[in-house]
Amino acid sequence: MKASGVAVMRAPPAEVWVALADPAVLAAAIPGCRHLESAGPRAYRFSIGAGLGSLRGEYAGEITVSEQQEPASFVLTAAGAGGPGTVSVRVRFRLTGGAGGTTVLGYDAEGGVGGLLAAAGERVITAVAQRMAADFFRAVNRQLHAGNVGAIIRRCS
């Protein structure tokens, strides 16, 4: 499953960079995040309640940040497992300055689900993932600027 898109963040790249490296921000932004703790340099242990509608599940796993080129780009890798199956995603973020002190945050995500999810959830997984991405950026924005919601433009390949 691949998804890429662009989110407009209402803050300059430097601030966005800091926000995205801040466990507190991530904890508040990751949809359904129950718990997020540092697990060494640029690594976090998380547990989340993810999914939508009837299709919910508890997942636990690790997030690692790599290939950091402050403040231009970094790669976030998350792998988790839970009752409904396994989830792994690798997202490359690209930060570029936009008009009026904004940041255009481009992302290319590549991920897969395993176990039960893959076997039966295929029909809605992509849509669920995209919605979670949208929620994530909306939340990051909220953190950056209370109430300011970035416009999410989605493109899927």
């Binding site: 499953m1 497992a81 009752g83 199956g85 396994t86 897969g112 689900v113 395993g114 176990g115 039960l116 893959a118 076997a119 039966a120 295929e122 029909r123």
Partner: protein, 791 residues
């Protein structure tokens, strides 16, 4: 009494089944503990730890086992059932994964609990940690071998095999014309409506195991389980209950569950049952069909094939417990009714991190038929000849039978066709579907904006392969006849067909005959049900056994009636003098007299006791060369396989807007030698055709690049409903008897499925004018092909 051979007799099996009184695996063992399995969510990973502590807390859990708990013999990899000299790197799974998992669904731990609900609760709580490894998915990835499934198998290559007659390369080079094609068939699976299942009871006092399993070979399971559990064969009974379909997948044995469940039952001193659920069947049983073929063919201007060279790659999944049967069948059966001057075939059997691959109805034949028939259609197109003409010019002629193709077949014996009349079959098919009239119909439809296409495909099917089957026939003193054969039945109507044969031989009514299959208590020597072999093998064996019983019955009756056996006949269960129905006795009485008794337990028995008088007092009650009772046991072991044949044709309409394919007509001409029960043969063809259509238009296994099966449910694996199969399957028969068995029969079980992909690819190609080289094809696929062709 008129012969039942060839009669459209109603099935004797049905009464129980339509009343809901069938006994399938999960209908048994109400008192048994339930097993559930923890299965790998990863296609390829190292197991770094297993923690069962939380799972053990679940109320009702009796035990949880991992590989570490398995005793020596059971901890070994499962057997490689069919070793073949070319299978240089055979690998088989452990009953429970040891250190590494090689496909999603591989069993890692076994939970035994009070019921399946609780077992699944506990399975959820077994915490397995994995270190993920790169997954090898798809034939291309396996071939490139950037990653390896098994580190000690270079190139992911389990086997490389070559067969050749004549110098194909030279003949092709010398041929006036040449073509090359790449042809692909995707994965599908047997998917019977009932999954696998096994129930075990251990008798502590007798030290004996009784095992019920939904299998296509009870004797095979018995031998394998006895070996793994260190038991004597005589201490293991394997009983096949009603089986809800097999189609190949249930010939594999022993499945991990088939050895683990009886082991646990013995350990726990409680009956244990495993009932596979639908998701497990998709990710933990077996698939088939995926192959990639490259064809080089040399032919002349008349369309006569000179040389044929086929190189193909077979995806055998993570393990090869069933050996190379599928690719070997493809490589040999590919030739069908044709006779190229020279033929070379080479295949690689490749490992991937997917569910293992074993025979599914047709077992490699559908792929071979697809390759050969697509090749002939391509030759016809190249030369602008009618597709039936090119076929006629390449047919083996009836006068050339028996015809030796110069190859070794799947039974290790010469690929030699016993009989058949291919020109006659084609003539029947053209007539049935109206081949010659179609062009006009197509033109008329086109004028009305409709796209029609017609296609046909021919096949020859090796059936009734050895080594042997046996039969036992016993006449009880009640006059009832008990028949047993060792192979198993999954709904094909074996009881009916075998009863028809015995009824004819013994002259008893069908209703007095009871046939038992797949019960090692009743018949211990058998091979199994596969390769359309029951009518040929058990049919012949049971017939020979019935003849022995008849001969004995006539001898005993002749003594009692003081006439010559030659003057006796058996009609309606009465042995009597020809033309004098009153001068006779019932078979039951003959059975009584055949067994000299000391003790009388009823009226009839009294007639056979020592003081009943009669008999020659100077000779022993049972002659030296004789035995008590009216029974016969016989085995049938043919020198080689019989070769059935058939041809299918279909007319399809393709929607110009939605690219949906509708089958307007589907015609079958079929030659399986003499027909024992046409109704049952036609039923087998119906089911086969439906599976052929499914494999051509609907069913595939959708693996993603991580080795996750994305359609492991009946929601997304598109097994056809009535709305997806042809409204009417039109059938015509030809009967060219086989000289290789006393009945002149050939197998019929798989025939219907074989040409499905080839026929529909040809028909769609004819409608669209776009080459169809990969099956199955969905409307979306066809739409994309149109875009590619700029149509």
């Amino acid at each position: 009494m008129s012969s039942l051979f060839g009669a459209r007799v109603q099935r004797v099996e049905d009464d129980r089944l339509i009343r809901g009184r069938g006994a399938y695996l999960d209908d048994l063992g109400a008192d048994a503990l339930a097993a559930a399995f923890v299965r790998s969510p990863y296609a390829h990973a190292r197991i770094t730890g297993i923690d069962v502590s939380a799972a053990l807390e679940v109320e009702g859990v009796a035990a949880i086992y991992t590989h570490a708990d398995l005793p020596d013999r059971l901890g070994q990899p499962l057997p490689l059932l069919i070793p073949h000299p070319d299978l240089t790197h055979g690998r088989t799974p452990y009953p429970l994964a040891k250190e590494e998992v090689n496909h999603v669904g591989e069993a890692v731990a076994m939970v035994v609990a009070a019921d399946r609900y609780l077992a699944e609760d506990a399975a959820d709580l077994v915490d397995v940690s994995y270190a993920e490894l790169p997954a090898v998915v798809g034939i291309e990835a396996a071939r490139e071998a950037a990653d390896l499934v098994h580190p000690d198998v270079p190139g992911n290559r389990a086997a490389n095999s070559v067969q050749e007659h004549g110098d194909a390369a030279a003949v092709i080079a010398a041929a006036p014309r040449r073509l090359e094609l790449d042809l692909h068939i995707e994965r599908s699976a047997s998917t019977p409506l009932e999954g696998r299942g096994v129930l075990a009871r251990w008798d502590e006092h007798a030290g004996q195991l009784r095992l019920w399993t939904s299998t296509q070979t009870s004797t095979g399971v018995r031998a394998a389980v006895a070996a793994r559990l260190g038991l004597a064969l005589t201490d293991v009974d394997v009983i096949t209950p009603d089986v809800g379909g097999g189609f190949g997948v249930k010939i594999v044995h022993p499945w991990p569950e088939e050895v683990l469940v009886p082991w646990a039952a013995r350990l726990l001193g409680r009956p244990v049952k495993f009932t596979e659920d639908r998701r497990e069947h998709f990710i933990a049983s077996a698939h088939e069909r995926a192959q990639l073929h490259h064809v080089t063919v040399g032919f002349d201007d008349d369309g006569r094939i000179r040389g044929l060279s086929v190189r193909f790659w077979h995806d055998n999944g993570a393990y090869v417990p069933y050996g190379l049967i599928v690719p070997i069948v493809t490589s040999t059966q590919l030739l069908g009714p044709y006779k190229p001057d020279a033929y070379r075939v080479e295949f690689d059997s490749l490992y991937t991190n997917t569910v293992l691959v074993t025979p599914y109805r047709g077992a490699g034949r559908p792929h071979g038929c697809f390759v050969m028939e697509r090749t002939i259609d391509a030759i016809a197109a190249e030369l602008g000849l009618d597709r039936t003409v090119v076929r006629e010019r390449n047919f083996i002629q009836p006068g050339e039978m028996p015809y030796d193709q110069g190859l070794m077949f799947q039974d290790g014996r010469p690929l030699s066709y016993d009989s058949g009349d291919y020109p006659a079959l084609l003539a029947k098919l053209k007539q049935l579907i109206g081949w010659d009239e179609f062009a006009a119909r197509k033109q008329a439809a086109a004028a009305a904006g409709r796209r029609l296409g017609i296609g046909l495909a021919c096949y020859v099917e090796g059936t009734g392969v050895g080594p042997y089957e046996g039969g036992h026939v016993l006449v009880e003193t009640s006059g009832k006849v008990k028949v047993a054969t060792g192979l198993t039945t999954q709904g094909q109507g074996h009881q009916t067909v075998l009863a028809q044969l015995v009824a004819d031989e013994l002259g008893v009514p069908l209703g007095d005959i009871e046939v038992v299959t797949g019960d090692t208590r009743r018949f211990g020597y058998a091979v199994g049900t596969f390769a359309s072999r029951t009518a040929v093998m058990s049919g012949s064996a049971v017939t020979l056994a019935a003849r022995k019983a008849r001969e004995k019955a006539l001898r005993v009756a002749a003594n009692a009636l003081e006439v010559s056996a030659d003057d006796l006949v058996i009609e309606d269960g009465i042995v009597h003098v020809k033309g004098d129905p009153d001068a006779g006795m019932s078979l039951g009485t003959v059975a009584v007299l055949s067994n000299p008794l000391r003790y009388a337990f009823d009226e009839a028995a009294a007639a056979a006791t020592q003081f009943a008088g009669g008999g020659d007092l100077t000779r022993p009650p049972v002659a030296e060369d004789d035995e008590p009772g009216i029974e016969g046991r016989a085995y049938f072991s043919p020198v080689r396989s019989t070769f059935a044949s058939g041809m299918h044709a279909a007319i399809v309409a393709t929607d110009p807007d939605t690219a949906e394919v509708t089958i307007l007509r589907y015609c079958v001409v079929h030659d399986c030698g003499r027909l024992i029960n046409p109704r049952i043969v036609e039923g087998q063809i119906h089911g086969g055709v439906a599976q052929g259509v499914a494999g051509a238009l609907y069913e595939r296994m959708a693996y993603d690049e991580y080795g996750q099966l994305q359609n492991a449910s009946f929601m997304d694996f598109l097994m056809p409903y009535v709305s997806e199969v042809p409204r009417q399957i039109e059938i015509d028969h030809l009967e060219t008897p086989s000289p290789l068995n006393p009945l002149g029969v050939k197998g019929a079980g798989e025939a219907g499925v074989i040409p499905g992909a080839a026929v529909l690819a040809a028909a769609i190609e004819d409608a669209e004018g776009i080459a169809i080289t990969s099956m199955p094809i969905s409307p979306s696929d066809l739409f994309e092909l149109r875009r590619g062709a700029g149509a």
